[in-house]
Symmetry: C2
Subunit: 324 residues, 2 copies
Amino acid sequence: MAEQRALIALDWGSSSLRAYLMDDAAEVLESRTSESGASRLSLEVAAVDRPAIFERHLRSLIPDWLASGLPVLACGMVGSAHGWVEAGYLECPVDIAALHDRLVVVEGSGGLRVRIVPGVSRHPVGAAPDVMRGEETQVAGVLARDARLANGVAWIVLPGTHSKWVKVEHGCIVSFATRMTGELFELLRSHSVLARSLAPSTSFDADAFERGCAAAREAGGADVARHLFGVRTLGLFGRVPATSLADYLSGLLIGAELAAALVDVEADVPLVLAGDDRLCDRYRRGLAHFGRTCDETIADASALGLWRIARAASKSACRPSITS
Amino acid sequence: MAEQRALIALDWGSSSLRAYLMDDAAEVLESRTSESGASRLSLEVAAVDRPAIFERHLRSLIPDWLASGLPVLACGMVGSAHGWVEAGYLECPVDIAALHDRLVVVEGSGGLRVRIVPGVSRHPVGAAPDVMRGEETQVAGVLARDARLANGVAWIVLPGTHSKWVKVEHGCIVSFATRMTGELFELLRSHSVLARSLAPSTSFDADAFERGCAAAREAGGADVARHLFGVRTLGLFGRVPATSLADYLSGLLIGAELAAALVDVEADVPLVLAGDDRLCDRYRRGLAHFGRTCDETIADASALGLWRIARAASKSACRPSITS
């Protein structure tokens, strides 16, 4: 049977663009990646000039796919105030199955139409607001992959530069929290006084990682600024090998995240990880250190999430279905 | 009465060198500053070449002072493994009045003799070691300024890139802890995703600072990675003006430090701040937010500390006293 090209799905974040050509059974036929994330494309560019820059970049990455006239659906920072067009935020609780109703359409030249998934915001009383953009689509993909999660209560953890802990109930995002764990790790590893202590890692040192987790857990996730200085002194006195200090630091930061986040996570609610395999593996180890098992790890949720949202949109609008 | 030049005191840290010409009554007659801190001077320089580089730099900053043949005493990172010569660490508890016995001497050309104060280390069981280098001399200065502190129990807080909380009992450093609060602030302000949200501060916004403190206090100093993302969202939704976000961030990080550090601080023990005026002012506000008063703020403790150590050394060695 010949392939049925059905959708161009774009996971267009701050630092990269991942484009997927998908068929009518939600399979990825081909994918292409570019380092031109929304932050880079918008840097020092006036808002009025941005649409042309985003369109040109997209056309240069997937000219052949676009020529076919397939529907295009995008998620991520492409819909932020610094993106192609601002796609706004839906306020929690957000029904994932209704996301398709709130897509924002941007019209390019030559009939190009790109739909963008809005972000999700949360405004808790007496605390700072929170936002996600792109992760709502990953959540849609996770729920599409596992019906049990879609029909009950679950925590979906999306590790990354800005990790997200998302609570879903019966297909709705009811709460979530963002932590800058991945960004802190990169900042400290590359730009802080610790950079001088850390030697390039040769292989993952699980013991060093777990020592970091343990230090963070014992402090209940507090006093991170003190533990960070410990990275330096453990190296200085040869208590952790220089090549393992990055893993210790990673354990410290992920451990501090887990210590704080798990306070809100009920013991009997399923917890799944979605994202990069190696990073999910660190979180799984960290969770085990806190006596918590992870029920499942799901990779590449964005493409499936975009596909689900696109299909719902096509059905809802009574436009020709992308499943034809 | 003509001035009695008695000592060249060098506070030679990672990022700068402060040189003081002092008289026999511990007054600073003149001071000079250079941006050539020990880290910068040692960058990509082989250990064997470092002494010549440090000496050359010192000679270029204070040629006239050195020509007088006055005693020279230095503290700080100049005595680290990346410094002029490694001055080692004394292990806690350390009697401040005995520091002068453990000076390391480095001999330059033309009869130049520079004595360097050793650092202090702490090796708590089951936790990362801790070190200071330069702060032991500030503590000596603080104790010299206030006899009540020297004869009792006190906490001396030295805010900075790496803040130190030092507990002294009867003139001894019995415990201390380092927190990378200042460095985290600079990293986040300059290199993180938050840099895009923060506008240059026009004047200190005490309200924003205290809101940051409050957020950290309510979380007991935990979940900093989450509160950091709040800096972005508070800006995004206009809840804190962009020009005040740096003060909010400062409050958040200092608040997290205080929440953790104050756990160890007894209510009836005097607490003093020593260091940069504006930074000490932030800590004083933060302490007040935690219901804690600061008994005193002491500036320029390094010069006095060096002077005290030099005087004790000259008396102890029965060398001609620097007070004569």
